[in-house]
Assembly symmetry: C2
């Protein structure tokens, strides 16, 4: 597998750019021949031979081969407002904050931002304040671990929870591929739980837990994205959130709440799981990639659970995640954390305030796509049966089509119709979702949306007619 694994379908990583073609197309002269050491793939960790990885790689390659196709696959945040001067300024705002609010000397400020740093991070107090301001979550800043993006936070939690082959993790299906990948790295099976149109099917959740237990397995946690999910765009309603907390308590599960898109959930955003969590059942996984700067690679975990050792001593789960982090990345670049810290200080700890322009762009794109779909696919008993959901915000929506929308069709779509999208089957681990498409909206403009939907409509009409 080449660079940017799984990334054409993944908002958390780069689109593949032309510069990466060389990485993919490694040729004999790069590798060399002769009396040199070869490694067999079968002698490397099983994750590297996972068929899912090969299929993700395929998606990258399609994007490379058809650079002029309009992409509803790219899920990276908008680049419209990226600004070098702003990022430098955020760093300086954070340094000033250390000097003025924290009373640091110049030597202390330099040590904080430029030297090796605290494993749990240097912006934990600012992030705790943001959680209070934006979501009403009150946690000790010591419950926070600042991570190299949300991806490292996922890995830390899954590594901590996997003690042996009996442990498994549950995940609402379709599932963000980063969770599946991180679990694969620690040989932790992921058992899908039906999401459906409501975002969670409690009957299936109960059935999956019961089946797993009957097989001698131990479900440790349930992973989900409750607000405008990647990949579906679905948000859980308030009753589902409360019911989920009750189930977690009754079934002794942790809930791994990934809330990377909540800021963009639109009007009427519901309380996050962590804000409703009175029993410390929720580990919150967060990202600043969409809300401050993708290039900072800063995320976090909130893990305020109490860990009890054999002698009755207690510690915070966050401290154990920190121990794992100390063996994995030591600490998150404080120079990168400073960007996020400065942005939080400058915007009064509020991410909606920091993202007014971005929120407008994403909401506009969502509206244009929904309107554009309705115009191109009016309710017509004679037309193709195509439907889509209506997320309140976020980066994604789900299109359901009356034909198989798989990798083969994607390649055809790119070549013959000049439009890219993501087969939803990739988020089902290759077992389902074959008539669903994930549409991403975050990197589009009104013009590309209009032309792109025309192309998509021509593909749909052709496929529906051929049935």
């Amino acid at each position: 597998m080449t660079d940017s694994a799984a990334r054409a379908i993944d908002v958390r990583a780069a689109d593949v750019r032309a510069a990466e073609v060389h990485a993919t197309g490694v040729c004999a002269t790069d590798i060399g021949v002769g009396d040199v050491h070869d490694v067999r793939l079968s002698q490397l960790h099983g994750s590297l031979a996972d068929p899912a990885m090969a299929s993700m790689n395929f998606l990258n390659e399609v994007a490379i081969r058809f650079p002029n196709a309009i992409s509803f696959a790219a899920g990276r945040p908008s680049e419209e407002f990226l600004d070098f001067a702003e990022v430098h300024r955020y760093v300086d705002v954070f340094i000033d904050h250390l000097r003025r609010e924290r009373g640091m000397t110049e030597a202390e400020a330099k040590r904080t931002v430029l030297q090796y740093g605290r494993t749990k991070g240097i912006i934990h107090e600012l992030v705790a304040r943001h959680l209070e301001v934006d979501e009403g979550i009150s946690v000790s800043s010591e419950s926070l671990v600042i991570t190299v993006g949300c991806q490292e936070a996922m890995f830390l939690v899954l590594r901590a929870l996997r003690t042996g082959p009996q442990d498994i993790v549950l995940a609402i299906s379709p599932t963000y591929v980063g969770l599946t990948g991180a679990a694969r790295l620690v040989d932790l099976p992921v058992r899908p739980v039906r999401g459906g149109e409501r975002g969670i099917d409690f009957d299936d959740l109960g059935a999956q837990i019961a089946e797993a237990r009957a097989a001698g397995l131990r479900p440790r946690a349930l992973y989900l994205v409750p607000d405008v999910a990647n990949p579906t765009g679905i948000s859980l309603d308030l009753e589902a959130r409360r019911e989920l907390l009750r189930v977690a308590e009754a079934e002794d599960l942790l809930l791994l709440e990934d809330n990377a898109y909540g800021v963009f959930a639109g009007e009427g955003r519901l309380p996050s799981l962590k804000s409703l969590d009175t029993g410390r059942r929720v580990v919150r996984l967060g990202s600043f990639a969409k809300t401050v700067l993708p290039g900072a690679r800063v995320g976090y975990a909130v893990a305020d659970q109490r860990v009890v050792d054999e002698s009755g001593g207690t510690s915070l789960l966050a401290d154990h995640l920190s121990t794992i982090k100390s063996m994995l990345t030591v600490n998150t670049s404080p120079w990168a954390q400073a960007v996020v810290g400065g942005a939080l200080v400058e915007h009064g700890y509020s991410l909606p305030a920091a993202n007014r322009r971005e929120i407008d762009v994403y909401q506009r794109n969502l509206r244009l796509i929904l309107e554009g779909l309705a115009r191109r696919f009016p309710s017509d008993p004679a037309g193709p049966v195509i439907s889509w959901n209506t997320p309140t915000g976020g980066f994604f929506l789900t299109l359901t089509v009356p034909f198989r929308a798989d990798d083969e069709l994607l390649e055809y779509s790119a070549k013959e119709h000049g439009v890219l999208w993501t087969p939803m089957s990739h988020f089902y681990g290759g077992d389902g979702g074959y008539e669903q498409i994930r549409l991403s909206l975050s990197q589009l403009t009104p013009d590309t949306i209009d032309v792109g939907l025309d192309r998509l409509a021509s593909l749909v009409r052709e496929c529906a007619a051929a049935r």
Copy 2:
């Protein structure tokens, strides 16, 4: 275990600062009581209950409790030349490099430094050029993976190599704790190989390999630091390097060369293992923490080995490390990589050129410590039998004393003599090295060296007299 695990004894991570006392001393009010979810430590991954972790934590706590002790334990790079303006400038130099040398448009430069990025990194070509300029290593830049410090590079390689319980890794003992910790995260046993005064004992290496194979185990690689090692300060001579490459070939091992200190090895630095590697037996692990900026958290792996799949297709080991990285941290912050990239461009890709002042400081400190030890412990048949090695450079040297220098003595030393050092036993996994001390020199000044050695000498005389 709390924050900054293992870090008081580890040059790759922060000293514990006063600000972390709260992290260590988590109290009941932080954790709360009542009907909340507790986790048993026994239900978390085994690495978290490892006794080695507890002992490392102890070292942190000693440093916190005796902040006025002079520290020969802190192994972080010098803070004398840290400079905010310089770091901002390095970023801008890199951006200018993208515009002028790479011909990027402003949008492309912004996308490169601020957006999600290539999993294998954005400064790979500059790092490849540095390896050529400084060490005569010629590798395709596609063989490089830019990582979140050398620690992530270690993890990626160990994760790739561990396929099942039969796999083990060998490591020259005493061993850098970061290697031991990363191996623990993937349940990969580390089998020590005697280093001795020469830095490697080939008889023991052969014996360990034979014993492991007889037990049905598969040694995959040997980890070592060939230049001015952490923790001993020892460098391998040229014949040992050549012999090691022959053994690797004969025994079908990879060599994991960690060369974090080579730039500071002093006059007569010998060729690195990778520069001598004609059979692609060496995976080079590198760090810019000591040579550019600790706070950037940027390292790399050079993995030009060919991987052959079942159908005969080939790829680079670097691409498989990249696949793992995509599930672990997605990519290394390009904003942080830009600091390293700018430093390389500004100094003509040469790290010795970028570190002229630092090299002088560390060489001066080494000379002052060696002279100070000789003055305080002259060859005297009636005096205590104390000896030390004479590294050519680097951050560390080894002191051998005629008494047990363990954690208990360290605490006594801090309290009664006001001087900190690291019991070498921590690098032997608690099995040996009890009469050895690691002395770090990187954060001292002529004054603290003088006073610190006086304190150390008074401890040594007291302990020797009490025998």
